[in-house]
Structure formats: structure tokens, C-alpha cells
């Protein structure tokens, strides 16, 4: 295992420098570590029609002028969609470690309802890519039991909302066994699946489970938002000895991006600097990142300079990166898809207030989804989540 990391460690610094798109003067990051390649391509090229378009496809590494790191198409790496990036990460880890297995509904022969596990069953066989019956409570429990012996299952919830049925297993067994056994057992599972508000999927299929899981001690939660960090977080989550819940988003699976060919991971506890700025810190994650970046275009035109951070790590928060940003801009806006009550934004507000109150020039603003079950009607659903226009207004208010 060490040999692999050494190899990666040697290669990474060479490739990371040209693709770093943030100005090192304003860098709030510590010097590049051995293999965590943190990128912040300005993902500004969003389909301006937003949610009413059929697909939310974004060409992250486009030939747009305002993306400083974007170079020509002769850039190394390969282009793929987010679900393919997840699949690549998963496949690489399964190849690397024979203890990694996948279990979930329709993950095997069907290839996964979002194609994240496509082709894996053919390649690795039925014992490593397991089609389970529709019994979330028990197969999550089984995955955790297997992890207690040293296997590394990746448990897929077809929709994160279904994992509510496995809440007991996730909370009591997954999160707590390391503690209650006095450290005897580690539970290296990855629990992943799509969540978030989709396209008129109805209330039960549009849930944001990060707010329910965030209190569970002993688990880590990460949310991916680009093909690059999707693959990186998937790999890091599989390699971690702690249970990790990886939140994907239903509407982001078809994002396209060019990612490096070589092996890389993204640190689980680290936030991503999407767009450095001076006036206000906007903290966001998952799909709302794109709404924020769309709003950022408008804000830039209006003369504001927002700093956008994709927090990525929902538990624990990367207070190091966030804190450095707050100390610089003194204004914080949180944009999330969770509901207002008891969401990630609520916890983040508390954490920032506790730790960085002296640096704030204005109260923290938190834009969240409405505290309602997600309605089916398209117009109502649109109003349930935060839209770019609201973000622009919020920043204007904050920077008065």
C-alpha cells in the first residue's frame, strides 16, 4: 500500500501546479501536500436557463475566457461525466483492494439505476457486486457486519431517502461501534447514493438526508459536486477507515469535466476554493454550487467580488479554510439545499459564530430550502429551493 502512495506522491506535484487555478497570493491553502490535488476550476459556464432546462450539463473545463485555468483542449487527462467519474473511482479501488465490494439494489446486473456501477458486475463477479433485495435495513446492516471483519463494502442507497429505513443501522452500528467496542472494530464502509431535489420527483424522493445524519457521532459526510471531486472523494472514502457517507445529487450526474489520468484523491475533510474573492464568503455544497456560480456571474457584473467555497466536507466542517476566508471577507452567506430547520447551514452558522464571531461585520445569512415537503408541481418546486436571483439579492443585502 505504501508503495502505491509513494508513486502517486511523486507524480502529483508535477501535474498539480499547472492546473491550480487560484492565485497563490490569495491562496488560503497550505502548501500542496503529497497527493491531494485541489482544483478550483471556475465552473461558471452554467446553462443560464437553470432548472427549467432538461439537463443540467456543464462543460466545466470550457474555452470560456473567465476561467483562468482553462487552457486549450490539448490539456492532459480525459473528459467524462460525473457518474462515469464515480464509476471510475469505484472500479479503480475495487481493482486495487480485493476487499472492496458493492451492495445495493440493481447495482449488479442492471448496472446501477444511475449507472455508477455499470460494468462492475461483469468484471468483478456476483460476489463483489451484489444485487440485494429491497431491504435497506438489513443490507445496510450486513454491509456494516462485513466491515467489522475487514471487508470494505460500498453500500448504495438507490435514493438517499431510502436509507431512512436503515437509520438504526447507520446511527447505532455504523457510527458507534468503533467507540462502544473501545476501538476494537473499525467500520470502513462507504454509504453513497443520490439525494437532493430533482425534477419533480415528489416529496419522498427529494430528500436531503445530510441534515438527519449530521448528528451521528463517528461518521464522516462528504458531498461531491464535480466529476473531479466525485472521483477523488469516492476513492478517499473507500480508503478511509471511518464510515463515510457520500452524498451525490440526482441532477449532477451528467456534468462533464476533464479529469487527470493519474491516480488522485480528494481529502475528505477539506473544502474546495471555487472562486477566490474579497467581498463576501459564500459557502455552499453539491448542486447549490452551480446556482451560486451562476449568481456570481451576475454579481461580478454588478461589481462584487464573491469568494465561493464548496465546503464538500459536511461532517466535520473544514473550519480551517472557512475561517481563513471569513477572516478575509468578514461576511458570510451560506447557500444550501437543506431545509432551514436543523440543516447543514444551521450547524455551519453555529460553528462559524462560535469560532469566528469577532471577524464578522454582519450577521451570517443562510439561504436554505423551504421547510416544506417538496411539491410535485414544477413552479412550486422551483420556489422550494434557492435560486440564483435570491443569492444575488442576499449578497447585495449583506454587502450594504
Amino acid at each position: 500500500m505504501a508503495a502505491i502512495f509513494q508513486g502517486v506522491g511523486a507524480a502529483a506535484p508535477l501535474s498539480s501546479s499547472p492546473s491550480n487555478s487560484f492565485d497563490s497570493n490569495k491562496s488560503v491553502f497550505s502548501p500542496p501536500r503529497s497527493f491531494s490535488v485541489v482544483r478550483s476550476d471556475g465552473i461558471v459556464n452554467l446553462n443560464p436557463k437553470g432548472r427549467s432546462a432538461q439537463r443540467l450539463i456543464s462543460n466545466a473545463v470550457a474555452t470560456k475566457a473567465d476561467s483562468p485555468a482553462a487552457s486549450s483542449s490539448s490539456k492532459p487527462g480525459h473528459e467524462l461525466l460525473l457518474f462515469e467519474a464515480l464509476q471510475e473511482g469505484l472500479e479503480e479501488e475495487m481493482e486495487r483492494d480485493p476487499r472492496v465490494c458493492v451492495m445495493g439494489e440493481d447495482v449488479g446486473h442492471y448496472g446501477g439505476s444511475y449507472k455508477v456501477t455499470k460494468g462492475l458486475a461483469k468484471r468483478f463477479g456476483d460476489l463483489r457486486v451484489l444485487d440485494t433485495p429491497i431491504a435497506e435495513n438489513s443490507f445496510t446492516g450486513m454491509g456494516i457486519g462485513a466491515a467489522m471483519t475487514g471487508l470494505r463494502p460500498v453500500i448504495e442507497g438507490m435514493n438517499m431517502g431510502f436509507l431512512l429505513l436503515a437509520f438504526n443501522q447507520i446511527s447505532n452500528n455504523c457510527g458507534m461501534l468503533h467507540y462502544t467496542s473501545g476501538g476494537q472494530f473499525t467500520i470502513p464502509v462507504v454509504i453513497r447514493g443520490p439525494g437532493g431535489v430533482g425534477r419533480q420527483l415528489g416529496a419522498e424522493h427529494s430528500q436531503r438526508l445530510e441534515s438527519y445524519f449530521q448528528s451521528i457521532p463517528g461518521i464522516q459526510m462528504v458531498a461531491c459536486s464535480t466529476p473531479y471531486n466525485a472521483k477523488g472523494l469516492m476513492k478517499a472514502a473507500i480508503r478511509s477507515e471511518n464510515p463515510v457517507i457520500l452524498f451525490e445529487h440526482v441532477l449532477l450526474y451528467n456534468l462533464k469535466e476533464r479529469i487527470p489520468d493519474e491516480d488522485y484523491i480528494c481529502n475528505l475533510e477539506e473544502a474546495e476554493m471555487v472562486r477566490p474573492g474579497e467581498h463576501v464568503t459564500i459557502l455552499t455544497y453539491s448542486r447549490m454550487r452551480y446556482h451560486v456560480m451562476q449568481a456570481a456571474k451576475t454579481l461580478v457584473n454588478k461589481g462584487y467580488d464573491p469568494e465561493v467555497i464548496d465546503i464538500r466536507s459536511l461532517k466535520p466542517f473544514d473550519l480551517h479554510t472557512i475561517g481563513n476566508s471569513v477572516k478575509k471577507t468578514h461576511r458570510v452567506l451560506i447557500v444550501e439545499e437543506c431545509m432551514r430547520t436543523g440543516g447543514i447551514g444551521a450547524s455551519l452558522t453555529a460553528a462559524i459564530t462560535e469560532n469566528f464571531n469577532d471577524y464578522l461585520d454582519a450577521p451570517i445569512m443562510c439561504l436554505s430550502s423551504q421547510d416544506v415537503p417538496t411539491p410535485y408541481a414544477g413552479t412550486l418546486e422551483e420556489v422550494t429551493v434557492v435560486q440564483p436571483a435570491q443569492i444575488v439579492t442576499a449578497v447585495e443585502q449583506l454587502c450594504q
Binding site: A135, N137, A146, N172, H178
Partner: protein, 394 residues
């Protein structure tokens, strides 16, 4: 009979201190005689979808005396825990196993430490059967550092990884899917070992059990589901909670066996049979007809939903230790005095362990935050707090 081992005290106290990684010390041969004896179980086995094993069980004097000693130890340990609880040295929940010792002891006789056992919260004796020491038990019950989970788990969270004892779980029924996961891992690693997932008659009505059973049967996992039917789910009798109290038949397409859980030899035979079956054919259910003398837990007197007569009746007619004692005496394997001496010795062992556990300190305050996450492992990570030292791989 070579009963001189009884008084070999030189290694005994050392045994209490040293963490036992195998049950070998617990099974210190009081008699080394291994001439086979065949004994009939109390009642024949009842089977469902399979052929029941024979009533005749092969054993030997050494094993019978080991049964006696182990069960006497477990009995004494549980009674002592009762006193400690009443003295407020043990707090919270404390679920005692006295009356059910034959299940733990008979199971161990049929399997190896490579096989996994997972059970619910009535786990003190199962832990000891797997090789746990009395010190670890009492220290954990009293929340001390010397406990098996460093005092952070408590009565319902005993674990012993090196002898494949996976706990120790507080939520009813949740351990069964975990157990099937253990069986899956055994099949995955081609271990040729099996998992015994124990649960009670109350948990038998949990949906996740049937989910897990379906998956185990589907994937041919070496999982043995053992229902320790003590006829009461907390305060509710089985006939009031289950439409069909034939728990061994509940598996439908999964074979089952009903066993007299108060007869250690029957338990041994059934577990041996189940292990062979599971390795070849996938899951099987064992129903152990057993009884607990105490209430559900220490906060339950155990007499509001059953009569004192019933409890004393079972104690007189079916007590597992008395059965083995009668067997030993009738086969002339030891004298009554020798058996009484074993009981006295066991009592002293328990008292010594309690005294030692009382001396163990409470956990350090910093232990509050240890073992929440596994640190310094996997890829480069900062641990739960990025300000801490980062763990990087060389």
C-alpha cells in the same frame, strides 16, 4: 480423577490478570479423562425442513466437568452482577443470563474461535464463553478502564475481536443483519467458518430478521440464526407477541431445529449439526428452548408477568447446572464434594475479579473523545479536527 488442578493457585490469579485470547484457561481441564461417553439428550430434536440429528451425544468426562465449571462460573458471575447492581456499582441496563448458561457453553463446545458469534444485550456469559476474563466483565460493567470496551460500552457492548465475538448490541434485532454480514464476509474470504447470530423470542418478530434471512438464503451464506427462546420478550409472554411461536419454523424455506436449551449436550449437538449444514447448504435456524430466572433486566422484577411457581419449577426440573451435576454424579466422574469445591473455587474467582475490577480506575476524561473516529489510517487525512496532526503515508 486428576482433580489436583483445582488447587493450582499459582497460575490462577495470573489468569485473571492476563487477557485471555482463547477459552483455554477457562477450560482448564479439571479432569483430563477423554474416554468417550454417549449420553442421550433430554428430549429428541424437532426439525423443520431437515432431518434432525441423533439424540445420542458423544462427550467425555473432561468436557462434562468443563461444562459444569463454566456454567457455575457464569452463574456466579451473573448473581454477583445482581448484587453489584443493587449496590449501585453497575448502573443503567443490566440484562442477566442466569438460567440460559447451557446455550453459551454448549455452543462453544461445538465450534472454534474462528467461527463468529454475535448476540444482543444479554451478552455477559457469551463473552466469557468466547474467552473474556471476569476482570474485563466486571470492570466494563462498572465503567472502568480495565473493561473490555475501556468502560465506554457498558453491559450491552461487550466485544472480543480476537476471538470473533462481535457483541453486544442494544437495539433489538439489529444484530441479525450484522450477523449475516459476518457470514457474508466469511463466504467472501472462503473461511470455512460460520456465524451464529443470536436473538431472542422478542426479536424474532423484527422485520429485519426476515430481510436478512432472505438475503442469506439467496446468497447461501453460512449464517446460523439462533433464537434463544426464553418465552418472554421483556414483559410480554411469547403467546401474546407472536401469532406463531414455533420460531424454528419461521424461516419457511430455511430449515430449522428446535433444541432443549437447558441441556448443554443437546445444544452442542445442535450447533455441530448446524455448522455442518450451514457450510454446505446455507442458513439454518436453531430455536433454543431456554429460560431466564431474572427479569428482563435489573429494573424488571420478573414476577409481574409470570408466577414464582413457574420460575422455581423450571429451576427444580430443568436447571442446566443441576442436569450436568446429576450426569457427573451418576456416571461417577467426580464426587459431590469435588463439585462443591469447584463451586467454591469459582465463587472465589468471581470475588477476586470483582475486587480487582473495583481497583481499576475510571476512564480518563480524554477518553471521551478517543475512538470516535479511526485516526491516522487510510489515505492522507486530518482526522476529525483539521488542526490536529495530519496523518500522511510515507
Amino acid at each position: 480423577m486428576a482433580l489436583s488442578y483445582l488447587r493450582s493457585s499459582s497460575s490462577r490469579s495470573a489468569n485473571l490478570l492476563r487477557p485471555l485470547s482463547s477459552a483455554a484457561s477457562l477450560r482448564r481441564p479439571i479432569s483430563t479423562d477423554t474416554t468417550p461417553i454417549t449420553i442421550e439428550t433430554s428430549v429428541p430434536f424437532t426439525s423443520h425442513q431437515c432431518e434432525a440429528p441423533s439424540r445420542s451425544v458423544e462427550t467425555n468426562p473432561s468436557e462434562l466437568l468443563t461444562f459444569f465449571r463454566d456454567m457455575a462460573l457464569m452463574r456466579r458471575m451473573e448473581i454477583a452482577a445482581d448484587s453489584l447492581y443493587k449496590a449501585k456499582l453497575i448502573r443503567g441496563f443490566c440484562h442477566l443470563y442466569d438460567g440460559q448458561e447451557a446455550v453459551a457453553v454448549g455452543m462453544e463446545a461445538a465450534i472454534t474461535k474462528k467461527d463468529c458469534i454475535i448476540t444482543a444485550y444479554r451478552d455477559h456469559c457469551t463473552f466469557v464463553g468466547r474467552g473474556g476474563t471476569l476482570l474485563e466483565v466486571f470492570a466494563e460493567l462498572m465503567g472502568r478502564q480495565a473493561g473490555c470496551s475501556k468502560g465506554k460500552g457498558g453491559s450491552m457492548h461487550f466485544y472480543k475481536k480476537d476471538s470473533n465475538f462481535y457483541g453486544g448490541h442494544g437495539i433489538v434485532g439489529a444484530q441479525v443483519p450484522l450477523g449475516c454480514g459476518l457470514a457474508f464476509a466469511q463466504k467472501y474470504s472462503k473461511d470455512e467458518s460460520v456465524t451464529f447470530a443470536l436473538y431472542g423470542d422478542g426479536a424474532a418478530n423484527q422485520g429485519q430478521l426476515f430481510e436478512a434471512l432472505n438475503i442469506s438464503a439467496l446468497w447461501d451464506l453460512p449464517a446460523i440464526l439462533v433464537c434463544e427462546n426464553n418465552h418472554y420478550g421483556m414483559g410480554t409472554a411469547e403467546w401474546r407477541a407472536a401469532k406463531s411461536p414455533a420460531y424454528y419454523k419461521r424461516g419457511d424455506y430455511v430449515p430449522g431445529l428446535k433444541v432443549d436449551g437447558m441441556d448443554a449436550l443437546a445444544v452442542k449437538q445442535a450447533c455441530k449439526f448446524a455448522k455442518e449444514h450451514a457450510l454446505k447448504n446455507g442458513p439454518i435456524i436453531l430455536e433454543m428452548d431456554t429460560y431466564r430466572y431474572h427479569g428482563h433486566s435489573m429494573s424488571d422484577p420478573g414476577s409481574t408477568y409470570r408466577t414464582r411457581d413457574e420460575i422455581s419449577g423450571v429451576r427444580q426440573e430443568r436447571d442446566p447446572i443441576e442436569r450436568v451435576r446429576k450426569l457427573i454424579l451418576s456416571h461417577d466422574l467426580a464426587t459431590e464434594k469435588e463439585l462443591k469445591d469447584i463451586e467454591k473455587e469459582v465463587r472465589k474467582e468471581v470475588d477476586d475479579a470483582i475486587a480487582q475490577a473495583k481497583e481499576s480506575p475510571m476512564p480518563e476524561p480524554s477518553e471521551l473523545f478517543s475512538n470516535v473516529y479511526a485516526k491516522g489510517l487510510g489515505a492522507e487525512s486530518f482526522g476529525a479536527d483539521r488542526k490536529e496532526l495530519r496523518a500522511t503515508l510515507a
